[in-house]
Subunit: 230 residues, 3 copies
Amino acid sequence: MIHPSVVLGANVTIGENVVIEENVIIGDSVSIGHHVVIKKDTKIGNFVQVGELTVLGKPTSSNKKMARKPGKALDSLVIDDHVIIGCNSVLYRGAKLNSGVFVGDLASIREKVVIGEDSIIGRNAIVETNTQIGNRVTIQTGCYITADMVIEDEVFIGPCCSSSNDKYMGMGIYKHQGPVIKKGAKIGNNATLLPAITIGENAIVGAGSVVTKDVPPDKTVVGNPGRILK
Amino acid sequence: MIHPSVVLGANVTIGENVVIEENVIIGDSVSIGHHVVIKKDTKIGNFVQVGELTVLGKPTSSNKKMARKPGKALDSLVIDDHVIIGCNSVLYRGAKLNSGVFVGDLASIREKVVIGEDSIIGRNAIVETNTQIGNRVTIQTGCYITADMVIEDEVFIGPCCSSSNDKYMGMGIYKHQGPVIKKGAKIGNNATLLPAITIGENAIVGAGSVVTKDVPPDKTVVGNPGRILK
Amino acid sequence: MIHPSVVLGANVTIGENVVIEENVIIGDSVSIGHHVVIKKDTKIGNFVQVGELTVLGKPTSSNKKMARKPGKALDSLVIDDHVIIGCNSVLYRGAKLNSGVFVGDLASIREKVVIGEDSIIGRNAIVETNTQIGNRVTIQTGCYITADMVIEDEVFIGPCCSSSNDKYMGMGIYKHQGPVIKKGAKIGNNATLLPAITIGENAIVGAGSVVTKDVPPDKTVVGNPGRILK
């Protein structure tokens, strides 16, 4: 069902059983897979591809134990030109994908996330709310990108890396801060990043390392806990 | 398609292309997203929300290599009042979600799992069969909760933690036992828990630790292998 | 919608809202869940079961930053007899699943992957392109199996293991090589495998280990970095 308020560009291909809710705007030459759900107010640019069984523009939800309640009304989900989105993925209202972004299958991207041009979010990867991702960043398959993180341009994050933003592990409401990863840094697969650390420009984190403190620019860290290689 | 045997409460909202099989019971003020599949015999309470593209009440399946065959007939999937379930998730027949539970997107919950009141199962998290989870537990995004585990009240498990229940790694049919996590313990992100260990009350496991033995109550363990901090 | 060119065997059960595109061939006694999408040219044998909301035969996609572009035309997705596939999974065009394979929910399997008889791919597991998996292999839930890997017969990989194939982490186009895991080796949960290492026959990798070099046959490795136990 396509709501009568939906604005569709030229040469749009829509699969079977697609649901498009009210006030959605879709540009030219967009392709939407079968069984996709596009929630209200979503804005999609030109030449965008959306895989099967994906949800775009999901609103926030929470139960009474969750610290972070939905605040004021979120902006729409905005998807710029030439973005490619996989199958069975869930993108929330209030995220912004800039042009050329690639999102794999089974991924999810939360509210107030911004993803820069041509960046890659791998399959099964998760990006939590309020994280800012630069241009030409690679976040590989299965990564967990916590909330309140900053990832600068050209960063590479290998598969299955994990990060956190809550050093007191759920003990109350206070300031959360995820890691900051500066321009060009590279993180090996299955590395663990603790809250609020900074990984310097062009630094390297070895696969499987547990990074508990800041890493200076151009340095390499390995091990558990992570130590700087001389 | 809604099977004619389905019992629907008052003020139920049902999305498009929803399939509800025989003998399903749905309470009042329930909201079901588009393209949801509710398998037979599932029981849903009042004020429940189910996201798009989710499967409720999946029966067990296995191939000939799998040790654990479906046994006697499983109970229904039971979802109590005020439960919230995300999009693209898979909940099995024989699980029980108590009131106020939150299940994120892309999660899966297996047979004979019980989840206590107001507990949170994060996005992409997996809970294997026969695991018991207490009240007000937080299991964050991407966690792997193995089978035959016990997680007591108010435990906090950070993102991407992994656990196992099979110390001989697939070598035969013998007793499997997952970790036991006692009340109020906290596990940092991407920690690894070995089979049959006990993590004591209010103990803390550091991010990225590999826990190979029991952790006494109120102690903190870090490193690989995990060592108790003095 | 079932395309008129589709060939259906005897006793095929098809759920609601299933989409089957052109030139698909389906054998006898196959069961297809609700809201499944079967893309063009997919070949399915006899006695196959496909769970709800799964995509079969997805073609490759990429953005301009991705190193590996779709090459010449891929073969069809081929699924042999007695294969069981879960819900919300994504299987790509050009993969081959031999008879008796089990694929869990929320899994994804890429192009040019071959999976041997009776092997298990757990829920949420990911197998990247061009990886060869032997017979009676167990890949447990949440594993990340990188591209260009070789996994021989009867290997056991515990939950949440991670592997990589790119030692320069995205710095250019050169030869990628994933790990080689020889017959009967066992890998503990959440282990990290670096590119191009070989794990010998019947070797054991402890849970949470970070394997940075070859492991000889019959040896056990633990720790970060992994060391051989005497």
